[in-house]
Symmetry: C2
Subunit: 254 residues, 2 copies
DNA sequence: CAACAAGCTGCGGGTTTCCGCAAGACGGCG
DNA sequence: CGCCGTCTTGCGGAAACCCGCAGCTTGTTG
C-alpha cells in the first residue's frame, strides 16, 4: 500500500509521515509533495489511491488538487487535514467529493490518536470520517437550518467578487429583479440590518459591501474561496464574447 | 536570559523551542504560550524581554498581543515568525512597532540557519532583521512607489467593512466629496477599471465591491486586518451616541 | 380541482454611488 | 510676489442599488 502526502509545511509533512508509518504498518511506501501542483502530478504518476492532503497551500490549494485527482480517479481516498474549519472550506470540499467516495476531514488540532484512527478508517475500512466540529458546519450548510442555500451562496460570491446586479443576472440566467430578491434574502440571513438603519441614519452601512464583510468575518468566505471564484468568473468573462470582431454589431440597446 | 515563545501550533512551538536552545546557549529558560492571550499574560508576569511571536493565532493574534506588550514595555524585543508576507500583516506590524525598538520578521519557510541568525541578531545584538521578501513589501508600502498612502489604506478598510460614504466622512472628519475623491484615487491604484467598462458594457463591476475583492486577492487585506478594523469601527459606533437603551431591532422603516 | 407556498419578473421611485467641473486653501519655489 | 501642484469642498446628474407592490408560473397537498 502506498500513501501520498501533500502538505506545504515541512514540519507537518514529516509529522504526517511518522503518523502514517505508525498507524498503517501495511503501508510500504510514502511519497511526499510540497504543494498541490506536484501533488497532482505524483498522484497521476503513481496512481495513488490513498492521499493525505492539506487544504490551503500556496501554489495550488487542496481543493483544486483534489478536484482534478478525483476527476481522473473518483475512487481515490483522500483525507483532508486542515488548520481551519471555515465554512468556506467545508463547503468547498463537500462540493467536489464524488458520490460514494471515501474521504475524511480532520483538523490539525486533533490528537495523534484521532488522526491515526482516521487514517485507518478511511484507507482500510473505506469509511468517511468527519471531524465533529466540521460536521456541525456541514449539517448547517446542507440542511436549511440557519444555513445558506446554494443560490444564496452563489450570489454572495458574486457580490464579493464585485459584480454588478446586471452582470450577475446575465451570469446566472436570471432577471435583474430576481438577483435583487436573492440579495435581499441574503441580507436578511446575514443580519446586515443590525446596526444599519436601526438607530438613526448616522452610522449606516452599505448593505452590499457590509454583507461581504460579515460573510468574511463569519468565515463563510475566505481567501481561497475568493480565489477560486475569481478564476471562474474570469473564465466566464473571457468566454463571453469569443469574437472580438463583431463588437460593433450590436450597439443599440433598450 | 529568558525567551518567551508564543505560537499556536504545537509542532512549530517545539521546533522553535529547539531552535532557541541551539542558537542561544546563553538562554537558560524558555516559556511557551499557545495563544496571544496567555502570551500577554506570561510576558507581563515574567517581564519578558525576548519574545518569539506567531502572527495569526486563533484566540488573540500576534499583532494585538505585541501591541499591548509593547505598550507596557517598549524595549521588548520581538521576533515575528509568520507563514505569510501579506501586505496586511507587514503593514500591521510596522504600524505598532515603537520607535527604536528591535524587532524582526522572519518567514516560516526560511531555513534553520536564517532563523537562528535572526534570533541572535535581535536578542543579542539588538538589530532589526527583516526577511528580504517582507522588506520588499515594506519599502513599497512606506515609500509611495506603486504603494498605498495611509489615507488610501484607511478608506480601503472602511469600504471593506461596508461603511457608506457618509459614514466614512463622519468617521474621518471629511466632507462627502473628499471621501469620494479618495475612493476614486483608490480605484485608480487598484486598477479596478481593467475589465469594467473596457471591452464591453455588459460585464461591469461594481467599483466599490470590486476594489475590496481585488485588495483581498492582492493580500492588501486579510482576515485579521478585517477583524481588527471591525473591532475599531464597532467601538467608534458605540461611542457615537451614548444611549444604548433602545437596542431593539426593527426591520420596518417608517 | 382549489388552495397555498415559493420563486421569477416587471414597475416605480427613493437613496446611494460615481464622477466631471470648478472654486478655494495650503505649501513650495524661482 | 506669482505660479504650480496637491488636497479639499460644493454642485449636479447619470447610473446603480435597495425594495414595496403586484402579477405570473410552478409544484405540492388535500
Amino acid at each position: 500500500m502506498k500513501v501520498l502526502i501533500v502538505e506545504d509545511d515541512p514540519l507537518h509533512r514529516s509529522y504526517l509521515h511518522e503518523a502514517v508509518n505508525a498507524a498503517l504498518p501495511e503501508c510500504d511506501t510514502v511519497i511526499e509533495a510540497e504543494n498541490g501542483t506536484v501533488g497532482e502530478k505524483l498522484a497521476r504518476d503513481h496512481k495513488s489511491a490513498h492521499i493525505v492532503m492539506d487544504l490551503q497551500m500556496a501554489s495550488r490549494n487542496g481543493i483544486e488538487a483534489a478536484r482534478t485527482i478525483w476527476k481522473e480517479r473518483p475512487e481515490t481516498r483522500i483525507l483532508f487535514w486542515s488548520n481551519y474549519s471555515d465554512e468556506a472550506y467545508v463547503r468547498g470540499v463537500s462540493r467536489i467529493v464524488p458520490d460514494g467516495a471515501a474521504y475524511g476531514y480532520v483538523l490539525k488540532s486533533a490528537s495523534d490518536e484521532r488522526l491515526k484512527l482516521a487514517l485507518r478508517s478511511i484507507f482500510i475500512e473505506s469509511q468517511c470520517v468527519i471531524d465533529r466540529e466540521v460536521r456541525g458546519l456541514q449539517q448547517k450548510s446542507l440542511g436549511q437550518t440557519n444555513g445558506f442555500t446554494d443560490s444564496e451562496y452563489e450570489i454572495l460570491v458574486d457580490i464579493a467578487l464585485g459584480l454588478t446586479d446586471r452582470a450577475i443576472a446575465k451570469r446566472r440566467g436570471l432577471s435583474l429583479r430576481s438577483v435583487q430578491n436573492r440579495l435581499q434574502q441574503l441580507y436578511d440571513k446575514l443580519d446586515v440590518y443590525q446596526a444599519a438603519g436601526d438607530d438613526h441614519e448616522d452610522g449606516r452601512f452599505n448593505l452590499r459591501a457590509r454583507a461581504v464583510a460579515v460573510a468574511f468575518l463569519r468565515k463563510l468566505l475566505n481567501y481561497s474561496a475568493l480565489e477560486r471564484a475569481e478564476a471562474e468568473v474570469q473564465e466566464w468573462l473571457d468566454g463571453l464574447h469569443e469574437s472580438p470582431r463583431d463588437r460593433h454589431r450590436r450597439r443599440v440597446r433598450t
